[in-house]
């Protein structure tokens, strides 16, 4: 069976800056595979180990992204694919899903797409549902456990929601997004990292994917992008001992009407 795992490269933390042209400046912050996508990759590799076939790591980005795709190969992905084009620079989530959907259609033989529940930078969680609708496949989001996966058949999962766990099944092909609880991603061995260090994954452009400018245009324009308003200056609670500080703290909480 052919599993595609969609990976996004994100900054390790979100201490980003905003440039005068309103683009995000993540200069100097280490780039990593979006944490939730690493769980998606691990899940894809585990099912590939059981069923055989291919597990393709797919990402949209510049040549800088190749490093994360190599890490995916070192972890156990059998193939990697980079979707790269200057026209992909400012995609919104649904446009990114259009790009990925075009590539998955072009691959042709894909049974299951797995990705993380959301990226830690954009945080919308819209990619997996958008991708599923564009492909015309059913979607299983917030998956905490894959109970069954039968090549050419069905997939049955647990969706871990806020206060309930749903058991849901559907036929393949399907799109799945996973949460952090689903597994424990492996660390690639140094040997494997060395073995893939020179791999150059195939690169597909907008033209290869038959995408038009309209497909790639965001639905909204950025009107403003600012840092959050500073929090009002805080107050340190002093006192001769812990008991006095605690009394003063509770006085304040009552005064603020928060307890």
């Amino acid at each position: 069976m052919h599993i595609v795992v969609c990976l996004k490269q994100v900054p390790r933390d979100n201490s980003v800056k905003i440039r005068p042209d309103l683009t995000i400046d993540a200069e100097g912050i280490e780039k990593i595979i979006n944490l939730f996508d690493e769980y998606a990759l691990e899940e894809g590799i585990r099912w590939n180990e059981q069923h055989g076939g291919k597990v393709t790591a797919l990402s949209i980005g510049t040549s800088e992204w190749v490093e994360q795709l190599r890490r995916a190969l070192a972890m156990g992905a059998t193939d990697a694919l980079l979707l790269s084009d200057p026209a992909f620079a400012q995609l919104d989530t649904i446009a990114a899903a259009r790009v990925a959907a075009a590539a998955i259609r072009k691959l042709g033989d894909v049974d299951l797409v797995i990705t993380g529940r959301n990226s830690t930078d954009d945080e919308s969680g819209a990619f997996a549902p958008a991708l599923a609708r564009l492909l015309g496949w059913p979607q299983l989001t917030y998956v905490g456990k894959v109970l069954e996966l039968q090549p050419g058949g069905t997939v049955k999962v647990e969706r871990h929601l806020e206060s309930v766990i749903e058991t849901v099944a559907c036929r393949l092909p399907a799109v799945m997004s996973v949460i952090k609880d689903i597994n424990e991603p492996r660390y690639p061995s140094l040997l494997k990292i060395k073995r893939v260090a020179k791999v150059e994954p195939p690169v597909w452009t907008a033209a290869d994917l038959g995408l038009s400018t309209a497909d790639l245009t965001p639905a909204a324009q950025l009107a403003e992008r600012v840092p959050p308003p500073p929090r009002p200056k805080g107050e340190m609670i002093d006192g001769p001992d812990a008991a006095a500080k605690v009394r003063k703290l509770v006085d304040k909480l009552l005064e603020y009407q928060v307890i």
Binding site: G125, A132, T141
Partner: protein, 325 residues
Amino acid sequence: MSNVLVILEAVGDDLAAISRELLGKGRQLADALGGSLAALAIGPTTAVAARAGQFGADQVYTANAPALAQYTTDGYVAAAMAAVQACNPALILAGTSFQMRDFGAALATDLNAGLVVDATDLQVVDGAIRATRPSHGGNVINTYRFAAGKPVVALVRKQSFPEAAAQPDRSAPVTELAVANLTPRTEVQAVAPKAGAVNLTDAAIIVTGGRGLGNKDNYYRLIPPLAEALGGAYGASRAIVDDGWVPYEHQVGQTGKTVSPKLYIAAGVSGAIQHLAGMRTSRTIVAINKDPEAPIFRIATLGVVGDVNEILPLLTAEIKARLNR
């Protein structure tokens, strides 16, 4: 295309708080667009559909096919499409629960609509919809302008708008929508309550513990009792979740839950940027830490420098005494 459509949610026999927020804001936005406010109740939610009129809706739609008894993407999108056909909305509002995220992004894709997830503000400027949403753990606040002529699906973060007040003399007609030939491709085989489920995102008060507590026993001896005395929920930093003290369910931060309660108490939490990302919009933040240089103090409303293992038992006792609990 100037109407606003609210997707209703129910809690027990009542409209969910988020639905009252959306009806209040939706009313304002519909007036600004010169349109009317419609609401859609799907499946079990139809029991509370009639109440939407009291909170500002001009028209209520219901969709109640057997296949809508449980949430499925296909079912809910089909129901919403029927409502979109009926009222041609410029803006569709829903909450940001996992189900609504699953649904909203799918609906926006099918409609080729604009999409904003986690909106904290919505406005109409010169007839066009503007939506504000945080990204990058709250370090970036983005405002998007949507072109007129295409609908916008906005999933709104809880507690972003005041809840509409009930107007007992107000009502709205309720119209049943036909959702034909509905066969969702996903089959919900079971729905089980999550053991020890904590709905941190709904809690008005959260007490979070971190590594400063020293060990797991101290966490359970000190954090849940304080949360209980305050009628709140308890959270955890990533460090102690990764160390196995507390289940992931309780994790607050970039890779856990994003919360915005009226009171957030961080005890023995240093305040890594990934943690601040998940709680920085809380109304009042109390930080208790023995290190006066801990980053958590930079965003705290009230700070106490001291040993959490000494302060927390005193705080729990003081709160019980003062609140008569």
